[in-house]
């Protein structure tokens, strides 16, 4: 495999609802910052790929407009995935394995505020037997949390502790939308949104964007003092029908982590894309992360959850720990689909 590294990461300040800027205006400064930090000249980027979802904007081909932010003339080699940007990064990584180009720009954007995101996400469910019942995204996640609680695998207190740790850590993340001190007992006195999930168990609704520049081999070594080398990346999917899955387990994460070589050596930091508190507990178990691993120092998706961006941001946040010299081996995870249906694991190391 060809050596490929994350050499830069940038993201917007996530907000509940950015009524001033359209997607291009949110993206422009983020992409400029990522490219500038990478040291790779804009016009020398070999491949550009983005992740977003037209259902968020409610416009077909909304992603095409975003190309205004990347300077697509003269024509560039470009692609798009209707998925979280983490999967766009996977495509870029595969593309760089071809060997004819040395760099790629990956970006993701999502304005989750434009529609009722709980209903929008319903449309990713089986359109014949499930979606017509309109179970919203929080209700579907609550099914999973209930299964986990009933299996005796966690308590509501465990879940609240994930929320307090995330918010506390998010205080040092200037991009975070939700941060601060929170008391577990106080949180547990709050009413349920959808039992057994309380407000703190659910992600905020966020608008934002993120971008990463990947570079291969010598180019990465030339532009970065400490590239975040991708030593393993893999993604796996489970059946669409919720009824045929054991929602308390994440076999696809387990397999992806195994294929990405997560267990070959300890990791210092893991950035897990767990929009709901109980999902972090499932993921830690599936990957086999011990208590000594720092989980989501950025605050994770509980601190900012721009849909289609939050997974790519996990890779960017984890890579930043390597680039900044705070960690030597990190793991990033991204998820897509209801109840952790599809999962991607990316292991990165310093050299």
């Amino acid at each position: 495999m060809r050596d490929v590294a994350v050499v830069s990461f940038a993201q917007s300040h996530y907000v509940r609802s950015d009524t001033q800027h359209n997607e291009v205006e949110i993206l422009m400064p983020v992409i400029s910052e990522a490219i500038e930090r990478s040291g790779v000249p804009c016009k020398e980027i070999g491949f550009t790929v983005s992740g977003s979802c037209d259902y968020l904007a409610g416009q077909p081909f909304a992603f095409v407009n975003a190309l205004d932010a990347v300077g697509a003339w003269p024509p560039i080699r470009e692609s798009h995935v209707e998925m979280d940007g983490a999967w766009a990064l996977y495509e870029a990584w595969v593309r760089l394995q071809c060997g004819d180009i040395d760099s790629a720009l990956v970006y993701a954007f999502g304005k989750s505020s434009l529609g009722d995101v709980r209903d929008v996400m319903t449309l990713q469910l089986d359109p014949y037997c499930v979606a017509p019942l309109w179970p919203d995204s929080i209700s579907v996640a609550a099914l999973q949390a209930r299964a986990l609680l009933d299996a005796g695998r966690c308590t509501e207190r465990d879940m609240a502790e994930v929320a307090t740790r995330s918010r506390r850590d998010a205080r040092s993340n200037p991009a975070a939308q939700l941060s601060g001190a929170a008391d577990v007992d106080a949180l547990l006195r709050e009413p349920y949104v959808v039992s057994p999930l309380r407000r703190h168990d659910c992600p905020p609704i966020s608008d934002g964007a993120a971008a990463i520049v990947l570079a291969a081999g010598d180019l990465a070594r030339r532009v970065s003092k400490r590239p975040s080398w991708i030593t393993g990346i893999d993604h796996r999917i489970e059946p669409h029908a919720l009824g045929v899955r054991d929602l308390t387990q994440s076999p696809s994460t387990r397999l992806a982590a195994d294929r990405a070589g997560a267990g070959r050596a300890p990791v210092d930091v893991a950035e897990l894309h767990a929009p709901f508190t109980h999902q972090e507990l499932i993921l830690r178990d599936a990957i086999g992360l011990g208590d000594d691993v720092r989980i989501n120092p950025s605050g994770g998706a509980l601190a900012a959850n721009a849909i289609m961006v939050a997974g790519l941001a996990r890779i960017g946040e984890a890579a930043s720990r390597i680039i900044g010299g705070d960690a030597d081996r990190v793991l990033a995870h991204a998820t897509s689909g209801p109840c952790l249906q599809q999962n991607l694991v990316c292991v990165m190391e310093a050299r």
Partner: protein, 157 residues
Amino acid sequence: MVISTPIRLEYTFTAGEAQTRFLRGLAEGKLVGQRCPACRKVYVPPRGACPTCAVPTEEAVQVADRGTVTTFCIVNIPFPGQAIKPPFVAASVLLDGADIAIFHLLQEVDVADARMGMRVEAVWVPRDELKASMESVRYFRPTGEPDAPYDSYKEHL
């Protein structure tokens, strides 16, 4: 068996800073674009970025409400919700001072006379009916000026 499961989602559209200026301009009977600080091209409607140079565009530029037909089509087929009786002309109009054409209706012309290079002008709704919408321009119509030479718009096809 046929099962009907209606889906309805409501969205709020964010015009953004650049398009907000454009829409507000329409409410005042003006067409306001933006100039790229790098290549100096003027985009109408503006999107806040130059798609060629990948830099933000900030300078507002008012362009003329007249221009040149760069290309057009004649709509002959009726479809549900059609506001105008076919046949009619839909044209790309390169406004004077702009570097990108806009789409609009061409009226007050026999469809057989529509042609590339034709000089046209905007017909606005009455002043008190102006609003922040492209509907403020009812349509374009020929000005009667001599056609623009092909070289003057060939870069904009």
